[in-house]
């Protein structure tokens, strides 16, 4: 019996090679994309899970409330960790780290920048980074020792034993390698190539002693049965009890939420974050699978008339309905498993490109559950999903009706379902087209935003060694090259200004209101180098010392202060510092590119800076100019490899998430439209085949080729048109929600819908008319003979 089924299934496939291939190709493409998405989802869900004490690990966050609005920060005061470990018994281990820095390491002739952290000794006790060499109990205690990863050890020492070797850091200090740990896995939130004692960081940053300065990260592991709620209760006033002038309220943020649920609003975890992407992509994977299965179902039921006779004969021969259901199910399973093998192959081929797109390093590995369970799982899911309805439908044929040659009349349930399914496919496809266009436009809109400064042709060069002190000489040398327009120094990159303070006061300020103001420290040439504009007052004097207690504020802050002439106004800080406003800079966009600029103060303090900004003259040969800049920098900091970034690259990097969403949306749109059209192509072929006789008759009666193409395409185009109408409000709503996250955004315009609908119609028309023209050109004598 089974053999007979398989034989029939095989012959059916062979006889209908074209359709079998269409069917398989669509299904395999759908499966492959779903598998890729699942690999991504699985990778996201697996973040940080390699830590043995995953459930007991936390980072400390704190809430600060200004003017009724609560902001959440990961930054903690320096004395917090030691005090918390002493006073809160639930805490087993605690460690502080900085935010991570790149330092210049050298060994022999090897000069490499490496990223790493300063951490307390508990760090390697709580986090499960595998120790390969060295005595864990001694790690991170001695401020001249280092723990490095195996990868970094290899870069410097090759196969040699790194323990006891000495690395020179920033060409002055010497560190001894005391241990080697395995490179953190790619799905680790915490990344580093080296670890050094936190004492070094503490020694360099005196502000860490103050409870009021929040500037480092702190992590803890709780005891096995500790209750985090109880700990949070103790934490709430922990900092304000130490220093009554502070408003920070710390709390625990569990490791299981670090990666996916890191969004806070008004001091509370929203439950959102990357998890929204994970959910969205899972839904998309399912949608694509559904689209592919719809093809399968539609082609199977459309072909049913061909198979009706077989069903009739089998029934007359004594087959019961169940055995027929089984038979057709068997066929769809065979098909589905064949497709999944093809899909596995596609995934294997596409994975490198996909990894590049989503910036991951997923491997095609049979130990990955998505591969070993996902492949057969998807095959079974699709087999059932795609096989259920056709097998019930096909097995329901009544032999007498079948032999009399009756066809399913127009408007019967099966054809309505078929049409409905096609509409569903195109609603999804059109939805993706619309999303792609909207996202594309939004990105373009923000990228073209008037920033209030010019981001083009500006090199950002980290200040290393003595570069900061020799700035004036460097600047003169740079200007002397002839390719440099101007140069300045700043503390932060303009797109990521994030230092802020709430302690500013001025005469007439409402004392009950605290205002968070962004701070930036720059050299006097900053405003001219950035090509910002002054709205009032003056720029800093070239001699920075003359402006050491003067500031320039932005228009937003000037508006908040609300006096007709703010130049000359005094600002007071908690520390007793008294500052004079000497100028107002026109608002420029910094930090969040989607928001309106927030209040800002520029300090003229050329010593508290990290970056050198070099504006090249416009219209010069870029490689030549950068080479000229390099030679100047090399002259002043010969020990350091030359590193720089262009400000506009930096700016473009800001759109990574949006660009990725756009790329994915684009691919989903292409994929869904291809799969849907494969289905449509098959359906059109069947329709043309089923209507061969009718087409013949019509031609005998005088129908032209155009008549026939219209006749055959009309029905399908009506479905696509209906799908457009349904997709419009749906995607408008979805895109409206997406755009809602961006304060600076486009309006969704009507032409986007016309474009998407028109495109879908055009593609569908091309797909269908191919079959229609083929059928219409057929010789009617032949088609009537086949009866």
């Amino acid at each position: 019996m089974i053999k007979n089924y398989l034989k029939i299934a095989w012959r059916n496939l062979k006889r209908n090679k074209g359709y079998a291939l269409l069917n398989m190709a669509g299904l395999a493409m759908g499966m492959a994309s779903a598998l890729l998405i699942l690999l991504w989802v699985n990778d996201e869900l697996a973040y940080d899970k390699f830590h043995a004490n995953y459930d007991r690990l936390y980072q400390f966050y704190e809430n600060q409330t200004y003017d009724g609005k609560t902001f959440t920060f990961a930054a903690m005061p320096g004395p917090f960790a030691p005090a918390a470990k002493q006073e809160i018994p639930e805490i087993e281990y605690i460690t502080r780290t900085d935010w991570g820095t790149r330092h210049h390491f050298s060994f022999g002739d090897k000069n490499i920048y490496e990223w790493g952290l300063f951490a307390d000794p508990d760090f390697l006790k709580m986090f499960s980074f595998k120790v390969l060499k060295g005595d864990t109990s001694k790690f991170l205690k001695d401020p001249t020792s280092l723990v490095i990863t195996d990868k970094m050890a290899e870069r410097f020492f090759g196969k040699d034993d790194p323990i006891g070797k000495t690395l020179k850091v920033n060409s002055d200090r010497l560190f001894t390698v005391m241990g080697v740990v395995q490179q953190p896995p790619v799905n680790s939130t915490i990344e580093f190539s080296w670890l050094a004692s936190f004492k070094i960081y503490e020694g360099r940053n005196q502000w860490l002693r103050n409870w009021g300065n929040n500037g480092i990260q702190t992590y803890a592991q709780l005891h096995e049965n500790a209750d985090p709620v109880a700990v949070n209760r103790k934490l709430k006033d922990f900092i304000s009890n130490k220093d009554s002038s502070t408003i920070a309220k710390p709390f625990l943020f569990g490791m299981k939420d670090w990666r996916l649920r890191s969004e806070f609003e008004d001091g509370k975890q929203t439950g959102g974050g990357r998890i929204e992407h994970v959910r969205l992509f899972s839904v998309i994977a399912l949608l694509i699978i559904i689209i592919a299965c719809i093809n399968f179902m539609n082609l199977a039921t459309a072909r049913s008339e061909q198979r009706a006779r077989e069903v009739g004969v089998r029934k007359v021969m004594g087959a019961d309905r169940f055995s027929l259901v089984r038979q057709f199910f068997g066929e769809s399973m065979v098909m589905s498993f064949a497709a999944v093998i093809l899909a596995g192959f596609i995934v294997w081929l596409a994975l490198p490109g996909f990894n590049k797109l989503v910036e991951k390093t997923i491997e095609f590995d049979f130990s990955n559950p998505v591969i070993w369970a996902g492949l057969p799982g998807i095959a079974i899911l699709c087999g059932v999903l795609a096989g259920s309805y056709p097998s019930l439908y096909l097995s329901s044929f009544n032999p007498i009706t079948v032999f009399r040659g009756m066809r399913a009349p127009r408007g019967s349930a099966v054809s309505v379902i078929r049409k409905g399914l096609v509409v569903v496919q195109f609603v999804i496809s059109i939805g993706f087209i619309i999303s792609t266009v909207v996202i594309y436009n939004q990105i373009k809109h923000v990228m073209n935003r008037q920033l209030g400064y010019s981001k083009d042709n500006v090199m950002i060069i980290p200040l290393r060694g003595g570069m900061n002190e020799h700035f004036t000489a460097i600047r003169n040398d740079l200007l002397a090259t002839g390719v440099v327009d101007n140069a300045a120094k700043s503390n932060s990159r303009v797109i990521s200004l994030n230092s802020s303070s709430g302690d500013f006061r001025w005469n007439g300020k409402d004392p009950s209101k605290q205002l968070l103001i962004t701070l930036e420290w720059v050299s006097p040439e900053y405003i001219s180098t950035m090509r910002m504009q002054l709205a009032a007052g003056r720029d800093f004097y070239p001699d920075a010392t003359r402006d050491s207690s003067n500031v320039i504020i932005n228009e937003t802050l000037a508006r908040i202060i609300g006096k007709p002439n703010v130049v000359g106004e005094k600002l007071y800080r908690e520390s007793g510092e008294e500052l004079t406003v000497v100028g107002v800079v026109k608002d420029f966009v910094y930090g969040n590119l989607y928001k309106e600029p927030e209040p800002l103060v520029l300090f003229c303090q050329p010593s508290a800076v990290n970056s050198l900004l070099v504006r090249l003259k416009d219209g010069q040969d870029v490689p030549k100019s950068t080479a000229a800049v390099e030679s100047v920098i090399k002259k002043h900091a010969p020990a350091y490899p030359f590193e720089f970034r262009f400000m506009d690259e930096d700016f473009n990097n800001r759109f990574k998430t949006e660009m990725l969403t756009r790329e994915l949306s684009k691919w989903f749109a292409i994929l869904t439209i291809i799969i849907s059209c494969l289905g449509l192509f098959g359906l059109a072929a069947y329709t043309a085949e089923r209507r061969t006789r009718e087409i013949g008759i019509r031609k005998v009666l005088g129908a032209s080729v155009t008549n026939m193409v219209v006749l055959l395409s009309k029905d399908f185009l009506q479905l696509v048109a209906l799908a457009s109408i349904l997709a419009f409000p749906l995607s408008y709503w979805l895109m409206h929600n997406w755009l809602d996250d961006y304060a600076y955004r486009i309006n969704i315009e009507w032409w986007v819908f016309v474009l998407a609908g028109g495109l879908a119609m055009l593609i569908a028309l091309l797909t269908v008319s191919f079959q229609a023209i083929k059928a219409a050109l057929m010789n009617p004598v032949k088609s009537l003979r086949t009866e």
Partner: protein, 225 residues
């Protein structure tokens, strides 16, 4: 009306070459009722398809109303066909998805007759074929005889000069068959030229002239009196 000389039609498949029409010559005058007879496979349907401009010959000449049409392209043939020729088939060839009324209306749509006029003319022929009461039925819901009456109605609705019928009674019992033959005779009396393929000597007797074919050639002509 029809003048055929040395008409040839050869079907080539991978293995064999079938000569379906072998230098066949034939003439049909306006107003005639001609029956074509012969054993199965002798080429009757092939001849009728060529007469109906559905297929083109491989050789010879075919004058239709004194125009050489043997080398007409598809478009020209279709144009000539829809205005001049009506078809009746053994297997009716009605479109299952269309009602009786819509089936009969079809040729008028393709010749561009206006909707109101179409309605009038369809009703007229349905009336004449006594099938008016079934106008909203689908073909599957009719008996064979009724279906063939619809097919005849469809063939004549455009008022063609020539009706080609390929075994019009082949699927019908004798009383239904006679009814259809009577319809064709009536049409012929009103001036329509008819060429009919048949296996039945009885049906052939309704015609003026019987052409007997064998292996793609005419072998004999009987003039009826």
């Amino acid at each position: 009306m029809i003048k055929i000389k040395d008409l040839e039609k050869i079907y080539r498949t991978e293995e064999v070459e079938t000569v379906a029409l072998n230098k066949l010559s034939l003439e049909v005058k306006e107003g005639e009722f001609v029956a074509v007879m012969g054993p199965s496979g002798c080429g009757k349907s092939t001849l009728l398809n060529i007469l109906g401009l559905l297929d083109d010959p491989d050789g010879g000449s075919f004058m239709f109303n004194n125009i050489e049409v043997a080398h007409f392209n598809e478009r020209k043939r279709a144009d000539l066909r829809k205005h001049n020729i009506g078809f009746v088939f053994q297997s009716f060839n009605l479109i299952d998805e269309l009602t009786v009324f819509e089936n009969v209306e079809l040729p008028l749509i393709y010749t561009g007759v206006k909707s109101a006029e179409r309605k009038k003319r369809v009703e007229e022929v349905l009336d004449k074929m006594q099938i008016m009461h079934r106008r909203n039925h689908y073909p599957q819901q009719l008996s064979g005889g009724q279906q063939q009456r619809v097919a005849v109605a469809r063939a004549v609705v455009n008022r063609p000069k020539l009706i080609l019928a390929d075994e019009p009674t082949g699927n019908l019992d004798s009383s239904n068959g006679n009814e259809v033959m009577q319809l064709l005779t009536d049409l012929n009396e009103q001036g329509t030229t008819i060429v009919m393929v048949t296996h039945s000597e009885h049906d052939a007797r309704y015609s003026h002239r019987i052409i007997r074919m064998l292996d793609g050639q005419t072998v004999l002509e009987n003039i009826m009196v």
